[in-house]
């Protein structure tokens, strides 16, 4: 493989609540590649992502290639949404945090959220909140995306939207690590690696 790697994980093991969750997980994430982590509930899929993002303590090696920007985008179960804010406030806040210079109009249209802009977040549905999370992800401008169950609980339309987004990100040269117990249908992506943990 001549391709540059974005992130390398070697012999990763993690202990939580006095229990070994997973042991000896190794994979490489290349630019333009996808790593799908499969496994049953409670097998530690989310924990791998949390190790990579630096929340959990781990043993082993996680190396992020410094040539690219080493920012990490993470979408988990918690959407980091303040219930009282409107969508517009939310977006401008994170835009300023990430120092995102471009306008987010394009992304809003992409997700079909234009008419909800002034609505407080507490009135939104689960799927719409998830969309907002992905909107935030767009603004980070990171190469590495960590997606924890990105498509579970969503309807067909939103699912295809998000898969579109992922494919676009990969075509631009980014890398995605996703966990899922459903099958993510990424037809256009060639470089898919599956990691199974038990």
């Amino acid at each position: 493989m001549s391709k540059e790697y974005l992130l390398e994980v070697k012999n990763l093991s993690c202990e939580r609540n006095y229990k070994l969750i997973f042991d000896n997980v190794s994979f490489k994430l290349c630019s333009g590649g996808v790593v799908l982590i499969n496994g049953n509930n409670g097998s530690g899929k989310s924990s791998i992502l949390m190790c990579i993002s630096g929340i959990l303590e781990y043993k082993g090696l996680i190396k992020i290639n410094k040539k690219y920007n080493d920012k990490i985008g993470y979408v988990g179960h918690k959407n980091a949404l303040c219930e009282e804010d409107t969508i517009y406030e939310y977006l401008t806040f994170w835009k300023k945090i990430y120092n995102y210079k471009k306008d987010f109009n394009y992304v809003i249209n992409f997700f079909d959220l234009r008419k909800y802009l002034e609505i407080p977040i507490k009135f939104l549905s689960f799927g719409q909140k998830k969309k907002l999370s992905f909107l935030r992800l767009q603004m980070i401008k990171s190469q590495i995306w960590l997606l924890d169950e990105p498509i579970s609980g969503l309807d067909k339309r939103t699912r295809s939207l998000i898969i579109n987004l992922i494919t676009k990100h990969i075509e631009k040269g980014g890398g995605v690590i996703a966990t899922s117990h459903q099958i993510i249908n990424l037809r256009k992506v060639k470089n898919i690696m599956r990691v199974k943990i038990d």
């Binding site: 202990e15 939580r16 609540n17 006095y18 229990k19 038990d198």
Partner: protein, 243 residues
């Protein structure tokens, strides 16, 4: 130093070492407390001022010493845990909390019972007493934290940090209450009623203190043993589930 700790930081190896110590200290605790009680209750002379009530001292003073020592122990093991991250230190710290509660409680109760015949009141808002009461509440807080986060590693740091902050806070509390006391209460009763301790009284006092110390070690090691075995049992059960 670290290497030396490493050797015993492994719980299984620690148990191997601890079980004989546990047995010895259990026997030692029984005999020293037994002999100490004989000395304290029968052989030692009654005080010329306080008469027979002075015998409460043989329970009160050692348990007060022991409760302070227990807190010091918790504090130190939390510090070691935070520095070297050996879970064993945390288990030691956690398991000594209930013992500390018991010692503090018995010191408070026996102090109150002793206070009534000698000073005429059960309780004075004296610096020493007040800070001891606060020590009791800090112990209770530690127990609360220990129980709410049981079986989750998240509570580990919570516990260690809390005992750390509490350890720094205790001298401040003592100091502040002292300050408050000297300003607003003319010389407290305790200091005027100083007891001259003769050798005949000192011997059972130290015997009792030694006995309680052995008792502390014994109870601590028993509960640590239970804790470690429980954890290995949980791991064993989970490994059964997975296969």
């Amino acid at each position: 130093m670290i290497k030396y700790f490493h050797k015993f930081a492994n719980p299984v190896r620690f148990l191997k070492l601890a079980i004989p110590i546990k047995k010895i200290s259990g026997i030692a605790a029984f005999f020293t407390i037994f002999i100490g009680l004989i000395f304290a209750l029968l052989l030692s002379p009654p005080d010329y001022q306080q008469k027979e009530t002075v015998r409460i001292m043989y329970i009160h003073v050692p348990s007060a010493w022991m409760s302070l020592m227990t807190y010091g122990f918790i504090f130190l093991s939390s510090v070691f845990f935070l520095i070297w991250r050996f879970p064993l230190f945390l288990i030691l710290a956690k398991e000594s909390v209930p013992i500390g509660i018991i010692f503090t409680f018995s010191a408070l109760i026996s102090g109150a019972l002793w206070g009534k015949p000698t000073w005429g009141t059960y309780w004075v808002w004296d610096a020493r007493l007040t800070s001891f009461l606060i020590l009791f509440f800090i112990f209770l807080g530690l127990k609360l934290i220990k129980d709410t986060f049981s079986n989750s590693s998240k509570g580990n740091y919570t516990f260690a940090y809390l005992s750390l902050v509490g350890g720094f806070n205790l001298p401040i509390i003592k100091f502040s209450v002292d300050w408050w006391n000297t300003l607003h209460q003319p010389a407290s009763i305790i200091r005027t009623g100083g007891i001259s301790v003769s050798n005949e009284m000192l011997a059972p006092l130290f015997l009792m203190a030694l006995g309680l110390f052995f008792l502390f070690i014994y109870i601590l090691l028993v509960s640590v043993e239970i804790n470690i075995k429980e954890k290995s049992l949980i791991n064993f059960r989970d490994s059964l589930k997975n296969n």
